[in-house]
Symmetry: C2
């Protein structure tokens, strides 16, 4: 975690969290990593929201500076990076899940998303264990 | 909920939620209402983050348009408004709590905030029931 002299508005825990991950594009990159296991620049660009390349580069840099992801060379393409969630990044799962849980009460979701929210509501621990296992396997393969 | 033709980036539940409450100042107004029971314009202005009057007015208007708060005349001051959380607004408690829970692992909090996070971790249901009871009492008094 970069604890460098960033001036926060207050010492409130809500302010602290929002300063680090509260930006909309940052949250979508975290969503792509947590829910979809994305790890490469090109994979993030493919998401349907159409993140701009400069915004993506900036958000990945910030996530690394804050210690939510680590950056390493892609063994399959030495000119590319691989982004991996740290424990600090992974532990944002409950924040993401509660946002989805709330939204699902008020918006229509397709079948895949409806099933995911059902899993969040009925088997959150199992889902988190599955995501953690996937991440551990990716780290060990690196 | 205002379901007017607002164009979203995608039909993802994360996008949906962030569009409605993901703005930093919006979240701080919601925090003031949920955690501190604030209901009046002047009370929001007193928060230590120093929200600007124009931003506050805009965010309260948006929260009302989205159905997260209702607006009524202040019986003690007919020229002022009272803002009250709807069920949709109140049900953001878990999102707020998970943000605080995450942050508390990585930042130092004062004693009051530490106790609140402890309550979130150990007695979340009790805390939510207390907040709901306070809101119900305020609504009945209106």
């Amino acid at each position: 975690m970069s604890k460098t002299a960033k001036k926060r508005l207050s010492n409130c825990a809500v302010v602290y969290g929002l300063d680090i991950f509260g930006d909309r594009w940052t949250m979508l990159v975290l969503r792509d990593m947590i829910l979809h296991g994305k790890r490469r620049y090109g994979e993030f660009l493919e998401s349907e929201e159409g993140i701009a390349t400069n915004i993506l580069a900036d958000r990945l840099k910030r996530l690394a500076a804050e210690g939510l992801v680590t950056v390493s060379r892609d063994p399959d393409n030495r000119r590319s990076n691989i982004y991996t969630l740290t424990e600090e990044g992974l532990s944002l799962m409950p924040v993401l899940f509660e946002i989805m849980n709330w939204s699902a009460n008020y918006c229509e979701l397709n079948e895949r998303r409806t099933l995911l929210v059902k899993r969040i509501r009925e088997d959150r621990e199992g889902l988190m264990a599955e995501i953690r296992a996937r991440e551990a396997a990716l780290r060990n393969a690196a």
